[in-house]
């Protein structure tokens, strides 16, 4: 099995519809992982100041990073519960569920490999 660059994840989660060099034997259905997070108020205030001058808002990039990581690891955790070998066709979606809080949502198809 090819190893994911994310060592903690162990299981492969890819955005294409196959795992290179492996054959998909069974489709276990859709799995998803979601993360709803916020930064604390200090970062919010910094971000607002940044909004005056422009430029990258690193604290919010970090928020997206954390949320995306958590969403992916939850996606994989759900796939593991199905005894899947990998998750293919992974997509991400976002939504704003609450003020200054972001939801990152990862979904994909859990599969068994030969």
């Amino acid at each position: 099995m090819t190893h994911s660059p994310n060592a903690a994840a162990e299981m492969a989660a890819v955005t294409i519809s196959h795992i290179p060099g492996r054959e998909i034997t069974e489709n276990l259905g859709i799995v998803f992982g979601s993360s709803v997070r916020s930064r604390n108020f200090l970062f919010d205030i910094f971000a607002m100041l940044k909004n005056l001058f422009g430029g990258e808002v690193r604290s919010y990039t970090r928020l997206l990073e954390d949320a995306q990581q958590e969403a992916t690891s939850r996606l994989i955790a759900q796939a593991k519960k199905l005894d899947a070998d990998a998750v293919v066709d992974v997509h991400f979606a976002t939504s704003q569920v609450a003020y200054k809080a972001a939801e990152i949502f990862a979904y994909g198809t859990a599969v068994r490999l030969k």
């Binding site: 519809s17 859709i30 998803f32 003020y99």
Partner: protein, 453 residues
């Protein structure tokens, strides 16, 4: 003081109701989802776009599932508390997960008879705050394939997507963190304001204030604009030996009498002191009157009037930065730590001003008679100590009476004969030539509170 409690109580009841209805709605939705998901036939769900090659395809159709779920106010409040500390919004995780299950359920219902739904895509809309919108779309494939047994390809256990936390415990810890943070912010901003106020010179203050309110600056007010009582009060202030006035001696003081029955006085920027007619009615001797004016001069010495304005401005700016405009409850809740932070600060300002008042009395009359009389009267008006006094920005008047008396005793300040206010006022009128001395035979014709404009 009532306005501190009433909005909070009303909002708390609303939030309490929202907590109950929200939990009931959660439970009902969860049960409905479980029931309906169990009724659905087996279908393959695939987020990939490839049509499986082991089936005979009869038809295909675009199918969608949409759902919008409103968050209850309680959960909303949790989110707002959470943004102060950051981290996972446990309360929302459950709702967004259920929203997705509901959307998929509707998608699958719309794809009745299809064996596969491929190319699944999730999307979200932005309809309003506190609402969760999910749109899922896909292509339903109608084939001869009838999946039986194995996994139903419904949604797997969603436990991994939800941090199981007690919402009430979350609320309690969030509230405490929120209040502590607000208290810290307001205390820190108070210190910053204090530093700023003390670094503005009297001249700069007068110059700035002349731009803003030229009508309220002594040098722009003509003598005829002042009523006789105002001129008397100003004369009294100007008769204080300059060396007894601290840093405030640079001010060109002025006095404005406000027709208001509440016994109050205030120090405005630029050196204008406001005295309510209610205060003039309360005092009986000139010494007592000077104890009040001396107290206001004490505020000028501490630059308290600037700090008061600065604190208000910073408070408004901070709450605009930290809260949404419609976050009534968080804004209300934040007014409490602000009140506490301001209270301790304001009380020490009041006591400092009392010290100046004592010093000014001593310099003017050579004794400190009547130094605490006004506070004794105010104490009687205010009555016994209550819970509200604990929050008040001013110390209880009775405590101030005791403190002033103790100070006079410790410093060995003499108590002399006070000057009657009526007589002092009439003497002023005669001295300045406003009335002939003979007019004084008809006593109480010239009263401090009714000789106004």
């Amino acid at each position: 003081m009532e306005d501190l409690f009433l909005p909070g109580i009303a909002l708390t009841i609303l939030i309490g109701i929202a907590y109950i209805t929200g939990r009931l709605a959660d439970g009902a939705h969860e049960r409905a989802l479980k029931r309906d998901e169990a009724l659905l036939p087996h279908q393959y769900l695939d987020s990939g776009d490839a049509v499986p090659d082991d089936i005979t395809l009869h038809d295909s159709k675009l199918v969608t599932g949409k759902v919008v779920i409103a968050e209850d106010r309680f959960r909303n409040l949790l989110a707002r508390l959470r943004i102060f500390v950051g981290g996972r919004l446990a309360a929302h995780e459950a709702t967004v997960t259920r929203a997705k299950r509901e959307a998929i359920l509707r998608l699958r219902t719309n794809a009745k008879g299809a064996s596969h739904i491929i190319g699944l895509r999730f999307d979200s809309a932005e309809l309003g705050r506190g609402m969760i919108e999910v749109i899922v779309s896909g292509t339903a494939l109608y084939t001869d394939h009838r999946p039986t047994g194995g996994r139903p390809s419904a949604l797997p256990d969603d436990g991994v997507n939800i941090s199981h936390r007690n919402l009430l415990a979350e609320f309690a810890s969030g509230s405490i963190a929120f209040l502590l943070i607000c208290w810290g912010i307001y205390t820190a901003s108070g210190l910053a304001v204090e530093w700023a106020a003390n670094s503005i010179s009297v001249q700069e203050e007068v110059a700035i204030w002349s731009e803003l309110e030229p009508g309220l600056i002594a040098e722009h007010r003509e003598d005829y604009e002042r009523s006789l009582p105002e001129r008397y009060l100003l004369d009294l202030v100007n008769s204080i030996p300059k060396e007894a006035i601290g840093p405030a001696k640079d001010y060109d003081f002025d006095v404005l009498i406000i027709p208001d029955d509440s016994p109050n006085a205030a120090a405005l920027p630029g050196g204008l002191m406001l005295v309510h007619t209610g205060m003039l009615e309360l005092v009986d001797t000139e010494n007592e009157l000077l104890s009040i004016l001396g107290h206001e001069i004490g505020h000028y010495n501490g630059r308290d009037h600037l700090e008061g304005i600065g604190r208000e401005v910073v408070g408004v700016a901070l709450s605009a930065m930290m809260f949404q405009t419609d976050a009534v409850l968080t804004t209300w809740a934040a007014s409490w730590p602000k009140l506490l932070a301001d209270r301790d600060y304001s009380r020490s300002q009041e006591l400092d001003a009392d010290d100046w008042s004592l010093r000014i009395l001593m310099a003017k009359y050579g004794h400190v008679a009547e130094a605490s009389t006004t506070f004794a009267k105010l104490g009687q008006l205010q009555g016994d100590r209550s819970l509200l006094d604990y929050l008040s920005t001013h110390p209880h008047p009775r405590d101030r009476v005791e403190r002033l008396e103790d100070m006079a005793r410790e410093q060995g300040l003499p108590i002399g004969e006070p000057v009657d206010l009526q007589i002092a006022f009439e003497n002023f009128l005669v001295r300045t030539g406003e009335i002939p001395a003979s007019a004084l035979e008809d006593r109480h014709q010239f009263n401090l509170t009714n000789t106004g404009h």
